[in-house]
């Protein structure tokens, strides 16, 4: 058992070293000043506009297609919308990586680097990548409207629960700001 584990660990260690030795050093001297200039202009990380996200994942178009009562058209719509949604999430994920890459290529020179802040930032980066991964999985499995469907389903369940317990309805428990109201 232990020798097996050791061999796997050593193999992984050597593979990592091989990765390092074969790494393309083309971008080794990525010009940090150029990056910063691009940062200031704001054009390097132009993320897809918010309207685009709202439109891709909005149920309005789906409702409109449903009105045509054409199953073929609906199928086509779902297929295309799924592709667009996957593309959008992938692009967002790539841009998160680019932002982080620019950050670490600049921060590596910095004498006053804050290790705690860097660690926290790395955590945020992982969180964003994970979110993109989960979103991709959900889109692939249930389609682009999965999240809004899930939200509306949760809402319905909550309403039903409220109806089942008339004395402690959801409206009396949940304040507008998200705080628990005193019954």
């Amino acid at each position: 058992m232990i020798p097996g584990f050791t061999f796997v660990a050593v193999a992984a260690f050597l593979a990592l070293l091989l990765l390092l030795s074969t790494r393309d050093e083309e971008d080794k001297d990525y010009d940090a000043t150029v990056t910063r200039k691009r940062d200031r202009l704001g054009s390097a990380h132009a993320l897809p506009p918010a309207e685009l996200a709202l439109r891709i994942f909005s149920p309005k178009d789906r409702e409109f297609i449903r009105l045509t009562h054409s199953p073929r058209l609906e199928r086509l719509f779902h297929k295309e919308r799924r592709k667009v949604a996957v593309h959008w999430v992938r692009q967002t994920s790539r841009e998160v990586s680019t932002i982080m890459r620019h950050h670490r290529l600049n921060s590596r020179y910095s004498r006053n680097m804050n290790v705690a802040a860097e660690t926290k930032l790395f955590g945020q980066y992982l969180e964003l990548r994970l979110l993109c991964g989960v979103l991709l999985l959900l889109i692939r499995l249930f389609g682009p409207h999965a999240l809004s469907n899930l939200a509306s389903y949760a809402g319905k369940v909550y309403e039903q629960l409220g109806r089942a317990m008339p004395d402690a309805g959801p409206a009396t428990h949940y304040g507008g700001s998200g705080d628990l109201a005193v019954p």
Binding site: F13, L20, K28, R36, V96, R104, S107, N112, M113, L128
Partner: protein, 253 residues
Amino acid sequence: MLNMMIWSVGIFLELLLLVRGYQKQLYRQFPIFYGYFLFVTLVDFVRIGAYRWASIHFFQVYWVTQFLSLAVGSGIIFEIYRVALRPFRGAARMARCALLIVFAAIFAKALTIPSGEVFTWLAKASIELERNLRIVQALAILTLVLLFLWYAIPFGKKLKGILFGYSLFIGLSIVQFVLWQYSWEQIRPFWSYAQPVCYLLVIGIWVRALWSAEPHREVYPNAQIESDYELLMASTRGQFRKTLARLGWVARA
């Protein structure tokens, strides 16, 4: 006979590396690495002497010099850290912090051994002790390599060769020691050849990397970036916040 042949080839390659280092003045760039090599070459001559004229003391000489080589060899990790991260002060700071955590974790693990057993542990077979020290070295190298990959630290052929060769040496040593511990009977016939052959392989990598005429390229830090760190952090955080908000709209759509 075969053992002596492997040994001689090893000494020849070590001398070749030292001569080349002297000719190209590489010892100025990598003083610890060449110091280690000088030490290892001298150790080889001491071992040959012990083997020929005092063979009854050979194993004592072997293990004492082996531990000294291990201690001096740890300096190579420091050299890799020093040369690679010299212009990258931010990455060097992160590396110091990460290495501190790794060594603190190892130290904490060592403290869990009851005090009475520490001496028993030290007195255990030398091979086991060397294996444990090699694992510590491997963890330190792993931490450095992960940071080098994360911060895209450029190396140059020479430093990359030193790092790859030494890591391979440590990796192969750990495998050998584990094999020794768990399947001694099966590997006994090959044991006396395995370590020298692996060492020849490693020294071959070093000769090839350090033979290169390409000079070690210095990278100079950018003064503007040093002063703009807070701005950089704020900018990255802001962009992350915007992206998170955008991903949140997906659920709200």
